[in-house]
Symmetry: C2
Subunit: 197 residues, 2 copies
DNA sequence: AGCCAAAGTCAACCCGTGTTGACTTTCTTT
DNA sequence: AAAGAAAGTCAACACGGGTTGACTTTGGCT
């Protein structure tokens, strides 16, 4: 009976598994991130992983159940919102391995339907949410999806595909170049859809 | 000795394999597109696939050795180039299964390093090529990579992830919304990099 | 017809995977 | 200290995958 503190006995193992799983899923898509590799990285027997999380699917769902912590754009100067959004997104990939939520999701979404569904939820609920807070309700979905396409295109080319011309640049340069695009999708006038209604 | 025409005896099998492989690789990433599935779709014994192409890697390389047939932007009115590029890209996904080059590459590039390398080549040689033809040489790489990020972000969200707000829209609407972005990456003034040189 | 290479078939091998169950060790509690 | 649960280990199973080799069929040639 060491410290009666909140840290239970050895459910630190659980944490080790989660940390390893996050890293594996961030680096490899669902299929390639093997339970054996996760266990190995966590210095653990593969069977333990299944003891804590009943199966791979459950483990993945646990790892992927995350919050992007998007900033509230209402608190940002209208003209800076594109830049703020962009910087936040890049931060999710550049920072420490903390909230590497997007890497995990994007990596796996291409192969794993559950991951794709989760990504859709994230963009429907979170991205569209923050966008809807600062644009007319009727335009939220349209603008949010345009923004999503540019943000995901950025992380795809820079961190997944690693196009040299993308990886060579520093984050600030990219932000400077692309912020106007996001800003336009957020603020700019878009062509009225055919039957204006 | 039927027709002495160019169609050899039964290397029509080879074609059947390629067609099936193209479809499988377009729908599933490298790992998931099994030789057995390809053979089954081509109504062929799996061993035949390996007889014509020595192994899966070679088959993939053959399937993926393609030309995006990008238009020559010099022949296009300067202000329309973004729109033309965009429409061409969308056409590669919407059209018949003919030149589904991008689907195949993008699907597999996330999981398969060889596919990622191939995609990098495509963008380095082809996309950057057409861009370089109409912008100052020193800016070509930068502008081409920005354009790539938006184009790939579009196809990713619309065809791979299938975000509802993206799939719901018709191609022309998307082109109208996003053409200005591509146009700006092509023509617009970008912030001068720090040490202008 | 009879030969021979090409085309096609079949069955198996080996590997890595998720998952399971029986077993052993370690800790906590009485 | 003894007992019992929790934590951890080990070996195996079933499955699907790429790949291989021996075999059989086909089809054009002399």
């Amino acid at each position: 009976m060491p410290v009666p503190a909140r840290e239970k006995k050895s459910d630190r193992t659980r944490m080790a598994i989660l940390v390893a799983a996050r890293e594996q899923f961030a680096q490899h898509p669902y299929d390639r991130a093997s339970i054996r590799a996760i266990a190995s990285q966590a210095r653990i027997d593969p069977a333990m992983v299944l003891r804590y999380f009943t199966n791979k699917e459950t483990l993945f769902a646990t790892v992927v159940d995350i919050d992007l912590h998007l900033p509230d754009l209402r608190a940002v100067e209208a003209d800076d919102r594109g830049e703020v959004l962009l910087r936040h997104f890049l931060g999710m990939w550049e920072g420490e391995a903390r909230h590497n939520a997007l890497p995990i999701l994007l990596r796996s979404a291409v192969t794993h339907e559950a991951a794709a569904e989760r990504l859709r939820e994230v963009f429907r609920d979170q991205v569209r949410g923050v966008v809807a807070a600062v644009v007319p309700k009727s335009e939220a979905a349209r603008r949010a999806s345009l923004i999503s396409s540019q943000l995901l295109g950025l992380v795809l080319t820079r961190y997944v595909l690693r196009l040299p011309d993308m990886t060579d640049r520093d984050a600030e340069g990219l932000i400077a170049d692309m912020a106007p695009t996001v800003q336009r999708y957020l603020n700019g006038s878009l062509t009225t859809p055919k039957r204006g209604r």
